[in-house]
């Protein structure tokens, strides 16, 4: 009996562990390895840096041959640095906009009659189930110069000439805010729903204005939700590809797009690996932070 239980315990851990090691961790090590190799014109288009057949000495030899040329290339060409900076900027502004729109929505949901809340929650989750690509595509028809938004604005006489929104950074902001809004609203709602609103009444009875009551009570209590929501939006947005590619213009620089075109158009695998490694380095701090938070909420839930 003990033995069976010990074996099942091992299996429960080992099977998913091994899977993630092989398909999640090992691939990263390969990316790291290839980012240090020289591009060659063949298939696969890189020169292997390590050949395990040579044994330990072969590995040491390989380390001496490690080439930093891809990373040097990334620092020499301002295109890449600009793409990194612009990705962070676009992701940051979009995250703030998402918070600005998501907070009143989450707050309104949390204050809704409790019979209505499950339905409202369902309505926030539902768009998450529909394809990302479709939701981004829907905006093309709206934002085009002859699109629905411009038609509507011209029909009510607000503008005379169509606004150029599609293929600009503005369209990318709209796309990111729209696509990631549920990720912001859900943790915010979870934090705000638990709040005791008697606190606000007490504060107001004691002479707080509604605005100062918000900053002194609601906001501090919502901080865990704000942090979780911002990380859930910011981290994937930095590496976003579909939104800048479909809604952004040729001048919209984002690192996910750069990686894609290095890989698919230029077929330069070592450089795209180096781009990926640097992207991961930028994101490692927010990702660690996110994991810490997940682990903590897991502990407190037990």
């Amino acid at each position: 009996m003990k033995l069976i239980s010990a074996i099942t315990r091992r299996l429960v851990i080992i099977v998913p562990y091994a899977w993630l090691l092989i398909f999640f961790l090992v691939p990263f090590l390969i990316v790291l390895k290839i980012s240090f190799s020289e591009p060659v014109m063949s298939m696969p288009p890189y020169a292997p840096t390590i050949d395990l057949a040579d044994g330990i000495s072969g590995i040491f030899d390989a380390f001496r041959q490690f080439s930093f040329s891809n990373y040097l290339w990334l620092t020499e060409d301002s295109l890449y640095i600009n793409a990194y900076i612009s990705s962070i900027k676009i992701a940051f502004i979009s995250t703030m906009l998402t918070l600005l729109i998501g907070f009143p929505l989450a707050y309104g949901m949390a204050r809704a009659p409790s019979s209505l809340r499950p339905t409202l929650l369902m309505l926030v989750i539902l768009p998450f189930w529909t394809s990302f690509l479709i939701r981004v595509y829907a905006w093309i028809g709206i934002l085009k110069p002859e699109g629905l938004l411009n038609q509507a604005l011209m029909a009510i006489g607000l503008i005379d000439d169509p606004l150029i929104i599609l293929n600009t950074d503005t369209a990318v902001y709209i796309g990111i805010v729209y696509s990631y809004l549920p990720f912001m609203v859900l943790p915010l709602y979870a934090a705000l729903e638990k709040m005791d609103y008697a606190l606000i009444e007490a504060a107001q009875d004691l002479g707080c204005t509604p605005i100062s009551a918000f900053w002194k009570i609601t906001f501090p209590l919502a901080i865990p939700g704000i942090v979780a929501g911002c990380l859930l939006v910011f981290i994937p947005a930095v590496g976003e590809f579909v939104i800048p590619d479909l809604l952004g213009g040729s001048r919209t620089l984002m690192i996910g797009k750069t990686l894609w075109s290095e890989f698919f158009n230029n077929r330069d695998w070592p450089v795209s690996s180096a781009v990926a490694v640097l992207l991961l380095l930028i994101l490692v701090v927010p990702i660690m932070f996110f994991q810490q938070m997940q682990a903590k909420s897991q502990e407190s839930g037990r």
Binding site: F23, L105, A138, P236, Q298
Partner: protein
């Protein structure tokens, strides 16, 4: 404390949902447009749907996507449930920090990195690219979502039930199948559905890991979208949205009737005492 659902609260909820739903609604409406010009309304028509079913390339891609989705969601559900069990049941084992890191990191990992790294793995071991590489990639990134969904259910699970079954002589496997699985089943099903839709939607990871003959529907849609908005694409999207909406509605109705049945059983149990 629901006395003060203010006008401001209602307005922000209405505005928020309008923002979330209007674009999808417009897309659906314009899929029934007679005109090829997507932005000019020229009367109701279903001709784009008929054209769709004659488009062999699109139908093939849809079939590949469904197959990848079914296979990957099923494996991902098994692996994700095991991962959730490992995380909630065994608080101490070697490398637990690395393990929980590998479960949570893919949730926020940019897709371009996941896609590129998996492709390089398949190339390194010389695994022919096609149906199976996409499927393996999808299992890997969707199992983490399943793990999170199942884990949240497991945390609120009363473990004394399992202990009672073990005390009465049930083995760990029997206990899991008889006691644990029925309780967490809604979460497992929700996890499967989430994995299936994530697989159905994925463009970036599939583009990196796919090979000849394994073009998925999002890849096909993407290559056409780059050429411009067309009513056929609106029609495909509408069908996909419809399929997902029906799935979600069925799931929530089933969930509700389970809940009702459980309440009735509980009441009956009390009445008999």
């Amino acid at each position: 404390m629901n006395t003060s659902w203010t006008r401001f609260n209602i307005a922000s909820v209405v505005f928020g949902f309008a923002f979330l739903y209007l674009p999808i609604l417009l897309l659906v409406i314009y899929s029934f447009n007679e005109s090829r010009l997507v932005t000019v309304w020229a009367g109701f028509s279903t001709k784009w749907y008929r054209e769709l079913f004659n488009n062999q390339g699109l139908m093939d891609a849809a079939w590949v996507t469904v197959r990848v989705g079914l296979v990957s969601a099923t494996f991902a559900t098994v692996l994700g449930t095991l991962a959730a069990l490992a995380l909630t049941r065994y608080t101490r084992f070697n490398g637990r920090i690395l393990f929980s890191g590998m479960v949570f990191a893919p949730l926020v990992m940019p897709e371009v990195i996941t896609g590129l790294s998996l492709l390089l793995l398949f190339v390194a071991v010389d695994f022919g690219r096609g149906f199976w590489t996409v499927t393996l990639a999808h299992i890997t990134f969707t199992m983490c979502f399943v793990a999170v969904v199942v884990q949240s259910r497991l945390m609120s699970f009363d473990r004394s039930l399992e202990e009672a079954a073990m005390d009465l002589g049930a083995g760990p496997v029997t206990t899991f199948l008889q006691i644990t699985l029925p309780v967490i089943l809604p979460a497992v099903i929700a996890g499967w559905m989430l994995a299936f839709t994530l697989s159905l939607d994925d463009l970036v990871i599939a583009s990196f890991t796919s090979g000849p003959g394994a073009t998925t529907l999002p890849m096909k849609i993407y290559s056409q979208v780059r050429l411009g908005v067309t009513p056929e694409i609106n029609a495909v999207c509408t069908l996909l949205i419809g399929a997902v909406a029906i799935g979600v509605i069925i799931a929530s109705v089933l969930n509700k009737s389970r809940e009702v049945r459980r309440l009735r059983d509980e009441q009956a149990a009390f009445a008999n005492h």
